[in-house]
Amino acid sequence: MADREAPEDDEPSPAPLESTALLLERVREGDGAARERLVARFLPLLRRWASGRLPAYARSLADTDDLVQVALLKALDHVDTFEARREGAFLAYLRQVLLNSLRDEIRRAGRRPAEPIGEREFASREPSQFEQAVGRDTMEAYEAALERLTAAQREAVIMRLEFGYGYTRIAEAMGRGNANAARMLVARALVQLAAEMEPHREG
């Protein structure tokens, strides 16, 4: 197949975006600008993700933006402590940090001096949009099943289902050859996810 014919021009062609892996590497080296670009890239995405996972009442008690920013900056502060050369791994780590923050926030919102209430009870009052859509049992089964997947499977599921990544970007993020390979990876991961959820099937 013929090679792509680039326009003959003195000006450079539009450069592909800096990869997340490259930005992560620069953040590790202390590059503040790379850190800002990385935050700018992920902040809107995480904000939207969080809005679907945070119960409405909890959102009224804490600013989602703050929560997401804190989680993102926290993750970047620990960029040396985990294997995040792949965008998929970084996103999965970010998701976990954010999920933990959301849970903490829910717990904090739930505490009353005279009435200690558990997270589950609060969740039953005002579920998140995601929980409203699938039900609490399915949500819990899903989270538990995700934990039992391999790291690659988990990343593939998260990127595709939760963050809406296209296959080409998943392929890049996962170090796979092309979009079809990424699609294959996602499909296999979903089959495994379904199997891992089996013990939690609704009765």
Binding site: P16, S51, L161, T168, R169, A179, V186
Partner: protein, 622 residues
């Protein structure tokens, strides 16, 4: 798709058993967002019932996530299936077809962006196809904001094609059909940008060859883009133009006579286009090529002055000269034509009715140089926007960091695409730009004074006499609310206001300048008093917000015909607002007294589910 995995599922066939392949096929459909008839699938594969039931559950999870609409802003890749590959491009959707071939929306994984892919039906091996491809390669060298950018040309998989930027908008032909003839000013502004586009094309040694309303797009956001270079060719090629020109009524006489297209014939076509934009007709009308040639030979045409006696003379003269039958009588080049149009606009501006603040007429000459001269004064005390914390705005760093008096970056740059990673985060930044790019809208609050124009930032200052206006554009119709509150807690509505030509929902057809026009003339908010702090709240929503509509109705609104009476909004009203979406009491009170609008902004923001956004700006009025 041809089977459970379709022709994209090749990679999954290495799974070991047919059952696993069935499951993977259904899983791939889930990942693609396709609907699956689970009852049918279970009937077809009864032994896989438990596994399919599990996948059905996973499908519900996938659907729930899809409904939340979480997608990367910098990833334009379509999640739908790939129709086919052409080289490394992934064709996603057919946009149209004709005798030449087909046009697709495609994904370019190298550029990581959507592109328009135009494919010939053949490999382009005949002479005319080879010539077209060679010319398209030349065109790929032209880089100009108002010229469709060509990314590449190639022959792949037995088909010749080229891929270009994908422009979303409407053709001028469509605008003509929908809106009718334009004003001279609006047509002249289009003409200016096309003159610049043609200058770039001609300086590359090319002629467009088929400039007409259907080949010019107004992109969502306002950028004028010269498209469809199907007839482009080298100026020195000597190739006859008539046979290749599809629009005789726009073609110069010499092209109709068989001579090649030139820079002069392009300028003629541009003249015809401008003529048509203001009249909706052609200077020479004919029902056949023979009749057209005959009329041209006899010099029969309807003078623009006759067709539109009301148009400014300078504009009429500029256009009439462009469509002179003799090439030597036309404008010498695109730059000359452009200067003539600029002069026409400036002359029109100078003859406009008296202007309370004449300097404002020169704020944005490329957009509305004339209409800006008719700024009506609104007796408002303030303004400011709000942008709350440190998440902010677009890379248009050039815009965000523009020095006072500098022209806005958006005046010359293509509109900020909603899918580009333009947001940056500066958590420690004390001041935030007044422009915020969000998935579906962009807004900038401007302050103009005399020749100077600057984007306002949170914490900025304003003074009596300052003109303020909000530029707003979005990719979808939005309901926009702009409110102001002074230090005393008096509140009024800045938008929507009665008498403005703009009303909710704001259409996506252009970058809007709020508060809009009154009686055909744009008006601004004008600062009329000094002292204290002003809070402005801007809310944009996909749906009307009933509580805000009630608030807007309950407080005084800006009125171009009289000073504004302030209204102190009662706590009861704000209590109602607190009920939006079931919001609860606010968390810990801030250290200084929180204005009602700040409180409202915080509550709206906390309750945002992506269907609306809220921005607040506090300014010092000095």
């Amino acid at each position: 798709m041809d089977g459970p995995l379709g022709n994209e599922g090749r990679g999954i066939r290495d799974m070991t058993t047919p059952e696993e392949e069935v499951l993977a096929g259904q899983a791939a459909k889930i990942a693609d967002g396709e609907n699956v008839d689970w009852d049918r699938e279970r009937s077809a594969s009864p032994t896989l019932d438990p596994q399919l039931a599990g996948l059905e559950r996973v499908a519900r999870i996938a659907g729930a996530w899809r409904d939340l609409g979480v997608t990367p802003e910098d990833d334009d890749e379509d999640s739908g299936p790939v129709l086919f590959h052409w080289g490394d491009l992934e064709a996603r959707e057919k946009l149209g077809e004709g005798a030449f071939g087909e046009v697709f929306r495609a994904w370019d994984p190298m550029l990581r962006r959507e592109v328009a892919l135009k494919l010939r039906r053949d490999a382009g091996e005949d002479d005319s196809a080879r010539a077209e491809l060679a010319e398209a390669r030349q065109l790929a060298r032209v880089r100009h904001p108002h010229v469709l950018q060509v990314f590449g040309v190639d022959v792949r998989d037995g088909r010749a094609g080229l891929w270009t930027e994908l422009v979303r908008g409407r053709t001028l032909e469509h605008e003509l059909r929908v809106r009718g003839a334009m004003s001279a000013d609006e047509a002249a502004l289009v003409g200016l940008e096309l003159c610049r586009a043609l200058a770039a094309v001609h300086s590359s040694g090319l002629a467009h060859g088929d400039l007409k309303a259907s080949n010019v797009m107004r992109e969502d956001g306002g950028r004028i883009v010269l498209m469809d270079f199907g007839s482009v060719h080298e100026l020195d090629s000597g190739m006859p133009g008539a046979a290749r020109t599809g629009t005789p009524l726009s073609a110069a006489p010499e092209v109709l006579a068989g001579e090649p297209a030139t820079a002069a014939s392009d300028l003629y076509a541009l003249g015809v286009l401008l003529y048509r934009l203001v009249t909706a007709t052609y200077p020479v009308q004919a029902s056949s090529l023979a009749e057209l040639r005959d009329k041209l030979a006899r010099g029969e045409r309807t003078a623009l002055r006759t067709a539109r006696p009301d148009l400014p003379t300078a504009f009429v003269s500029a256009v009439e000269r462009a469509i002179e039958p003799a090439t030597e009588a036309r404008w010498a080049d695109a730059a000359s034509f452009e200067r003539a149009l600029v002069n026409a606009l400036e002359l029109a501006a100078s003859m406009a009715p008296a202007d309370p603040l004449p300097a404002a007429a020169r704020v944005a000459p490329r957009r509305r140089p004339v209409s800006f001269s008719m700024v009506a004064v609104l007796a408002l005390a303030v303004i400011a926007l709000l942008w709350s914390r440190g998440v902010i705005g677009p890379k248009p760093a050039a815009l965000a960091n523009a020095p006072e008096g500098a022209p806005p970056a958006t005046a010359t740059a293509p509109p900020v695409a909603t899918n580009t990673p333009t947001q940056t985060v500066t958590p420690a930044a004390p001041a935030t730009p007044a422009t915020v790019a969000i998935p579906f809208a962009e807004a900038t609050l401007w302050r103009s004074r005399g020749e100077n124009r600057s984007a306002l930032v949170d914490g900025g200052s304003i003074s009596p006499g300052d003109h303020l206006f909000l530029e707003f554009e979005s990719a979808e119709p939005l309901h926009v609310y702009v409110l102001d509150e002074d230090e005393k807690g008096e509140t009024y509505t800045l938008f929507p206001v009665a008498g403005s030509d703009l009303a909710n929902p704001l259409p996506t057809t252009a970058r809007h300048r709020l508060p809009g026009k009154h009686g055909g003339s744009p008006f601004d908010w004008v600062v009329t008093s000094a002292g204290g702090r002003e809070h402005v709240l801007i809310v944009a929503s996909r749906k009307p917000i009933a509580a805000l509509d009630q608030l807007v109705a309950s407080v005084a609104a800006a009125d171009p015909s009289r000073p504004v009476n302030y209204a102190n909004v009662g706590d009861e009203t704000f209590a109602t607002l607190r009920g939006i979406g079931g919001m609860e009491a606010a968390p810990a009170a801030p250290s200084r007294r929180e204005s009602k609008l700040e409180s409202l902004a915080r509550r709206l923001r906390a309750n945002s589910d992506g269907g609306f956004w809220v921005r607040q700006l506090t300014l010092e009025s000095r």
